[in-house]
Subunit: 365 residues, 2 copies
């Protein structure tokens, strides 16, 4: 028997109160033919994971007693990287030592081990496999554990809605310094799209601009520039220089910032909203809708990929390849290793508390 | 020779200052083979006509000296009903006595007569023709002169974007008492769609609700109801009763009202903005975009029909048929007849001034 520990919740509320430890046994001597046993290598703490626990997120894992809990419970977490420990006799896509991530959200990744069906997981190459394939780099645990949400969000927003012409067309985004923003800058660079990123002004602005340009940013401007009507002419001259158009805006801020990025779109442009950091609603001048035919839509990677696994899989393949080739840098996480010294639920509760200082990754290797 | 009088402008500004009279001769003894001469029966004053003269509207007629003006000038007005006086030898679609309207905007309808190419006009049945076709009603001058913008806007918003299921699905609109709003209520009724119209509260609310219900409104609510979170349950129960969804929202107000109508949309719903009476931008809570996949787009009949004349023509045919069958009521206009007593430009300047009291129609019959 193999003992798994999981961080579960049976009711919603403050994570420090509702997240509990649960130990349960997995019979690893008798794995069903279509099942696999995996051990967790790393699992991050995303804002949406926290909101799920709090009960303020529309996508929720089902609460069951399948793990032997007294009350129906769910395991926290949606992203994570796993290594295959055992495979059932009929399993086709996995062998021991393979790496994998959950095929869908709501798997419950905040645990040391899991017993699941083969189809619940989708493979990623482990570093030996990447090396054997002649790739310069293997995936890191952070890259594998955080691949499903931010890189996929950036790639799909840039490619699934509007056809940008490489070398010519642009996208504009606010929150240029966010994790998704940095992936969008890099992916645009790889694909040949021009990027215009809006960031908040700060003391070390030059340093941030340099960092984003090193990632491949075409232009970086401040919120003040973005809000200034006169600055529109500068943006137009940049776009004219590439004989392209700003066809796409990515908005994770809302309020005045969303109006200002939408204003920079060429006629018939699309703004995709994937976040609302300002807590202000998306705001769009009426004339942009009517006379410039600007459309404002939402983006949620969970909903988009839920019923289109092929889209998720083909996007994962692209991102993996870029990581292996060293074209894409991941957003670093603050890593805390589960050693047993601290209870697993406490490790995640502390991680949630520390999330304001940067994305937290709990590792198990 | 036939003398035409036109209301022209050579520069933009206050209509009372820039609208001038211009008389010019049309040689009606020698009409080119592909041309027709028409006389105006009626021409309305739309808000967009006024904005064109002021120079604050994105669609503008070209200013030329083709009518013999000293300075390059344009004739005001975009909608109007005309009667054919003369046809060139090769004209196929018109004979003397036919009624017609401009095929496109920016024709310049504020004049007594016009010489134009056959293709500049598209036919409407005159009352004798409707009668000969066995129709219970012929078009009135107001119906013909105001058919291109408001009824087409209402029909195309209801039918060109989202497929509403008759007997089941709903649309919601603010500005339910506007001209477009009343057309939308009636057209929805004819097509079997349920309508939920938001109107401003007022002393004689019961009378307005009765008027809209007599036009075919399914439900009429006030802005206060619309903004009240608790009222959402009532709306849901109405929609449940028809086993349908609110798939479409029509917004001509903006601000808080646009957020409140968008909130009532079912997941994947579309809000079309065609006006901004509150002068506030369109406002949409971020969560509606991300978690309900609500899309917000603009509607401008001019842009939509500019490159798709067949769409305009087939829509005109439907509206004409509903007028002829007595299924559709037009929005009444305040009519002023051009008798020569008052100069033509003064008649339009006074009409613009009186537009705050209701839509003005200048007649010439």
């Amino acid at each position: 028997m193999l003992t798994s520990q999981a961080v579960i919740f049976s009711k919603h509320g403050d994570p420090s109160e509702v997240l509990k430890n649960h130990s349960y046994e997995i019979d690893d001597s008798n794995v069903e033919s279509d099942s696999i046993i995996v051990k967790t290598l790393g699992a991050p703490i995303n804002p949406s994971d926290i909101n799920q626990v709090q009960g303020v997120y529309p996508s929720q894992p089902e609460k069951t007693t399948i793990l032997g809990t007294e009350e129906p419970s769910a395991v926290g977490g949606n992203e994570g990287l796993f290594e295959v420990l055992k495979v059932g006799s009929n399993v086709k896509n996995f062998k021991v030592g393979d790496w994998c991530i959950p095929s869908q959200v709501n798997f419950g990744t905040w645990r040391t081990h899991a017993l699941c069906k083969e189809e619940d997981m989708t493979p990623l190459p482990n570093p030996e496999q990447s090396k054997a394939n002649g790739k310069p780099n293997g995936l890191t645990i952070n890259q594998g554990a955080t691949i499903s949400i931010n890189p996929l969000t950036a790639y799909l927003m840039l490619n699934h809605y509007v056809k940008l012409q490489p070398g010519k067309d642009w996208f504009i985004q606010n929150g240029g310094n966010s994790a998704v923003g940095k992936y969008a800058i890099q992916i645009a660079k790889i694909q040949g799209y021009n990027s215009l990123s809006v960031v908040r002004n700060r003391d070390n602005l030059d340093q941030l601009v340099k960092e984003l340009k090193d990632l491949g940013a075409t232009q970086v401007i401040t919120d003040e520039d973005n809000n200034l009507k006169e600055f529109g002419a500068t943006v137009k001259s940049w776009v004219k220089d590439t004989s392209g158009e700003i066809k796409l805006a990515l908005n994770c801020v809302g309020g005045k910032s969303s109006a200002a990025v939408a204003r920079k779109l060429n006629p018939n442009g699309l703004m995709l909203t994937y976040g609302g950091m300002s807590k202000q609603p998306v705001t769009l001048p009426t004339s942009l809708h009517i006379f410039k035919n600007i459309t404002s839509a939402g983006f949620w990677v969970t909903a988009l990929t839920k019923n289109d696994f092929n889209l998720k899989r083909s996007t994962l393949d692209k991102v993996v390849q870029w990581y292996e080739e060293g074209l894409l840098k991941d957003a670093p996480s603050v890593e805390s290793k589960f050693t047993g010294e601290k209870q697993l639920n406490q490790l995640f509760i502390d991680g949630i508390e520390n999330s304001k200082n940067g994305k937290q990754l709990i590792t198990f290797h």
